[in-house]
């Protein structure tokens, strides 16, 4: 590390002092913690105000209006809308009589993001989860004889490199399509052979997931997942009182 300026050395010690102040909170609330807490909150407010000005207010309001005044395209005047809405908010906090003016910016922001969030949630949370829940629960084993690199890579014990080596060996004809065959593949490095060995297993490992038949452990897991999802959905049903007995125990489970 290049040697530091003196002021940076002092800064490092201040950082250590503040760290110990906050850790002292673990013992109990004390003046050192109070000092560090209030200084931290104050500095974070100053950081935010400066950052919000230079990253939002300056480019999106001040520069836009300046461009508007400088005879730019009419779109620059659009920046007047947020300015008016902002002044309405200031009026609301200043005078009680004209507080109703402040309703417009609040209505605008709350309604806009309520709408945007409805769609975001409908697609990203509801839709995506329904899609995942609807998957085929009959999982077949991956046939090492025909599977492509993309099909092989997610298997336990496989990496993209191992998958390519298996496909190459298969094309060259010298390959036994079983988990044992993969581990015994001459072209593997011993690190890769270690990875394959780690993930062998007849219940959940490579042996169980490769072959021509069905991957039973996967099927059972999928059924459990489906049943678990449906029962959990029912658990939260508002119209059913079935949860009365568990409400009491759940209440006490987390109450001390």
């Amino acid at each position: 590390m290049t040697e530091l300026y003196f002021i940076d050395v002092v800064g490092a010690w201040i950082g250590i002092f503040l760290t110990l102040c906050i850790l002292s909170f673990l013992y109990k609330d004390n003046p050192f913690y109070k000092f560090a807490e209030h200084l931290f909150v104050g500095v974070s407010i100053g950081y935010l105000v400066s950052q919000q000005y230079y990253n939002v207010m300056r480019p999106k309001l001040v520069d836009e209006l300046a461009a508007g005044f400088g005879g730019g395209a009419w779109t620059h005047w659009l920046a007047l809308v947020p300015l008016v809405l902002f002044l309405a908010m200031v009026v609301k906090t200043v005078s009680r009589k004209f507080a109703w003016v402040g309703r417009y910016p609040l209505a605008f922001v709350v309604a806009l993001f309520a709408g945007l969030q409805i769609n975001a949630v409908a697609q990203a949370e509801l839709g995506a989860q329904i899609k995942r829940a609807m998957k085929d629960i009959d999982t077949k084993q991956v046939d090492l004889q025909t599977a492509s690199v993309a099909r092989l890579t997610p298997l336990p014990g496989f990496t993209p490199a191992i998958a390519e080596k298996v496909v190459a060996a298969r094309d060259a004809g010298a390959f036994v399509p079983t988990a044992e065959g993969v581990q015994a593949l001459p072209s593997l490095t011993d690190a890769e052979r270690g990875i394959v060995a780690d993930n062998r297993g007849t219940v959940k490992g490579l042996d169980a997931q490769t072959g021509k038949g069905r991957y039973w452990f996967g099927i059972v897991s999928n059924i459990l997942l489906l049943l678990g999802t449906l029962t959990s959905l029912l658990y939260f049903y508002f119209s059913l009182a079935t949860r009365a007995w568990s409400a009491r125990s759940r209440g006490s489970a987390c109450g001390s």
């Binding site: 673990l26 919000q52 939002v56 480019p59 995942r132 997610p154 990496t159 993209p160 780690d198």
Partner: protein, 306 residues
């Protein structure tokens, strides 16, 4: 008033002061740093997948790096950042770096000065053997030059809206200029890069919201992007389904995974040392649970017998 009956040791235990546990946790964190145990670290599949995806990059490829974190998540994410930067720089991959977190810029700028504008593991670094490239020469990383080997785009406010903006119009979102004001058109590695899909790979380092989840939801499926990522331990369970669904080509979650990534890159550092701390502190939490149950059962049997 007769002296109160001496408290049975089980009752004394009931009011066990939790600060002893804090002390135990304190020792569990400090001691392994002083006396490393170096337990073996075996990379898990998700981390390996991420490593190999980055390893498959060719010299001259351009990668988009989104560093969405704050000082609090440095312990878990800086080791990954250092390792993946070493891996990218020694392959001479060009970097376009940006952030959507307002608390990140000074931190990322320091990392750029320390790890990108200076070599991380130049020739002769003790304990580091550089991998060999196609024709057998050892690949070392070098000092990257601003606006030639890497571009720092800076921060833009708007959280998830920024990410969907990057997907459709990256240059517009950054007003066509880098953080230091240089117009993007004047930067060679930026030509032909108008949207996220123009980048070979996206490396997402995210400590929470907005982060990998928003990148997957907003732009991954719409533009079919190739993405690898690193996140904090607490969000790993939230993001693992995206790896299983194939939307993320690799994910390294938390300090343990960062240690695994360090061993794969071949330069053990902070995370490897801290892995021991992780093991011991997990032990303390387990002991706390067991001890808590012990106190509970002892107390209950005592009450039952009285």
């Amino acid at each position: 008033m007769a002296a109160p009956e001496p408290k049975h040791w089980t009752e004394k235990l009931q009011s066990f002061d939790r600060r002893w546990i804090f002390l135990a946790m304190g020792f569990a964190i400090v001691l392994p740093l002083l006396f490393p145990i170096n337990l073996p670290i075996k990379p898990s599949p998700m981390v390996q997948a991420g490593f190999y995806t980055v390893e498959a990059l060719q010299p001259g490829d351009v990668v988009f790096v989104s560093v969405d974190l704050e000082p609090a998540s440095t312990p878990e994410l800086e080791p990954y950042f250092r390792s993946v930067m070493l891996q990218l720089k020694r392959k001479n991959v060009k970097l376009v770096i940006a952030t959507t977190w307002y608390a990140a810029p000074p931190l990322v700028e320091r990392w750029i000065r320390e790890m990108i504008e200076n070599p991380i593991a130049p020739e002769g670094t003790p304990g580091y053997t550089a991998p060999l490239d196609a024709d057998g020469k050892p690949m070392y990383d070098r000092a990257y030059k601003k606006n030639e080997d890497y571009v720092w785009l800076g921060f833009r406010e708007g959280k998830a809206a920024v990410i969907s903006g990057l997907g459709s119009d990256l240059r517009g979102t950054f007003d066509n200029r880098a953080a230091d004001g240089t117009p993007l058109d004047a930067i060679p590695i930026m030509n032909g890069k108008k949207q996220l899909k123009d980048f070979k790979l996206l490396v997402l380092i995210s400590a929470g919201f907005p982060g990998i989840k928003e990148y997957v939801q907003q732009v991954q499926s719409r533009y079919n992007l190739r993405m690898v990522g690193a996140t904090t331990a607490v969000s790993t369970t939230d993001l693992a389904p995206y790896y299983q669904a194939g939307q993320l080509l690799g994910l390294s979650g938390g300090l343990a995974a960062a240690a695994e990534y360090e061993t794969m890159v071949g330069k053990p550092g902070l995370a490897t040392q801290a892995a021991d701390v992780l093991n011991v502190s997990h032990l303390v939490v387990i002991l706390a649970i067991v001890f808590g149950n012990f106190i509970f059962f002892v107390g209950r049997r005592r009450k039952a017998r009285r």
